[in-house]
Amino acid sequence: MLVIAQRTVDEMVEHARRDHPDEACGVVAGPAGSDRPERLIPMLNAARSPTFYEFDSLDLLKLYREMDDRDEEPVVVYHSHTATEAYPSRTDISYASEPGAHYVLVSTREPDTVEVRSYRIVDGIVTEEEVRVVAVLEPEETS
């Protein structure tokens, strides 16, 4: 299950709408091991394509170094489909390289509605999961 704050979902959807008809892409980083998608980082789609996305290679390096410095990991990797449903394609599955991440798909194929769905993609296997949208993420327990 993906637990995510409403504001983060709204920002992902806004990003997808902004980049439509090109696919939008980005990550939501959170503390390593926490499964908390706290920090949304929209990324440039270097492919600028309605059917393909790729993070620019130097943006990617900068992102991972920054997450490493902050002891974070990519909790969510998101992208949009602009003419098809919010379900991982063969391409999505073959390039999914973060086994611990929630892969969120946003579909902007309809102007009046949006689909937001989440999946685990591990070793080529896709498993859809529930998305629980909360007002804010619960504060982390400090015991």
Partner: protein, 116 residues
């Protein structure tokens, strides 16, 4: 040359979970061959018979080796090599194993049932 090679999560199965390993070599190609001698199978995840794999990014310090010498990029003592799989994907040809949605060449989804 003593080189630190930073390994992405998905390739740490080859390094016993280590996120950085040490390698030796004057070029990127040499270092990858050297690593493979201790972490069998690692090289093949980065290189195929045509060279560096398209969707695996390799950097020396702050630069992408595609803009340097590729596999022949020269290394010096203390350089850091970083490997990061591309973050990529896209609707492309559409839903994996689609039964109810066919995708045309233009990328539009068409439902077999009414309402498409």
């Amino acid at each position: 040359m003593a080189i630190e090679v930073r390994i992405p999560t998905i390739l740490r199965t080859y390094t016993g979970g280590e996120k950085a390993v040490a390698g030796e070599g004057a070029t990127l190609a040499d270092v990858l061959t050297d690593l493979d001698s201790r972490h069998a199978g690692l090289r093949e995840r980065i290189v195929d018979d045509k060279g560096l794999r398209r969707f695996v990014n390799v950097y020396v310090n702050d630069e992408d080796v595609r803009f340097m010498g590729g596999l022949e990029t020269a290394l010096k003592d203390g350089d850091t090599v970083t490997v990061l799989p591309a973050v990529a994907g896209g609707a492309g040809e559409g839903r994996a194993g689609a039964a109810s949605v066919r995708v045309t060449a233009g990328g539009a989804g068409v439902r077999d049932s009414a309402g498409g």
